[in-house]
Symmetry: C3
Subunit: 130 residues, 3 copies
């Protein structure tokens, strides 16, 4: 398995952990000092994980990721991943709740750690929302 | 072309064969003893191919697959692919038929055969439907 | 980074350049003699770039690409990429404009040039539109 494949696996593991709301699995994908920036401003990892722990507005989600645009640093210890995603947030239809679909761009600075590649900095850009 | 690329190609060939309803091409992607489990329960390959041969409810489909989460076995002869997909089933609008969109997760046990990688066991999980 | 990864990067660079309407970046992804065929018939690169330069009907777009089905030629200097995509064209809702979503299949003949892989011939097939 080459570097780019390991990086793609990191993103796919993120999608599954997020959709299963598996906070332990999510935490393993980030450096302990990671920073996530997006609509909530800039959050350190722990604060961001807390928001993921809070009750869901939407009972089901699907983080459907495109192929990342990979820029691997010369030394092979750092990389930037620029990934398009469509995130389906599915409302409880029996309760009359609507769905929300978002077009997202994740820009991740990743580094190689003792446990494989982890995200050091994530910028979440919402391209559109419906 | 590395292993992961061959595995991705297997999935993309599946998407095209399914959308073109090319039963011969579909059959080549599976081990003759393959089992497919999903909403219809567990089906051997031949029975599953028969359901694919039956008249379409939707005239057009698009199996839009995400990147697989690849777990390659040590020996390199077996792998598991965990793939998100959005399947667009497009109704005949002139006839007033609605579309159906499904969020799917395919979990495939694949093995290397004389004809390249083939699916030995596929589990189809419907995550959502709209 | 292997060949298939470079080819995937080419496609992802296309998506970003198209969505940012960066004509210079788009031009770099094609051979100067490239031909693009689709709903407008067959266009040489310059004419096609002109259509991309014209005012947008939709203020925001997202070219969300699936994994390409890659067929690399023996010599490693040419390849064909067969890529599914969902293209979101997002209307200005404040102005009451609707969105358009398209299911697209790009079939690209690509060649290795002094500047990396470039598209020599692109065929754009619209599978569905909503």
């Amino acid at each position: 398995v080459n570097e780019a494949d390991e990086l793609r696996n990191l993103l796919q593991r993120y999608a599954r952990a997020a959709d299963q709301r598996d906070i332990g699995a999510l935490a393993e994908l980030f450096d302990p000092d990671a920073v996530i920036s997006g609509t909530r401003g800039e959050q350190p990892l722990d604060a961001w994980l807390d928001t993921m722990r809070s009750p869901r507005t939407f009972p089901t989600s699907m983080h459907f990721l495109g192929d990342p645009l990979v820029a691997l640093d010369e030394g092979g210890e750092q990389a930037t991943l620029d990934t398009y995603a469509v995130v389906y947030q599915l409302g409880d239809r029996d309760a009359g709740h609507a769905d929300l679909t978002l077009g997202i761009r994740y820009v991740d600075d990743v580094v190689r750690s003792a446990n494989g590649w982890v995200i050091l900095r994530r910028r979440v850009e919402t391209l559109w929302m419906r």
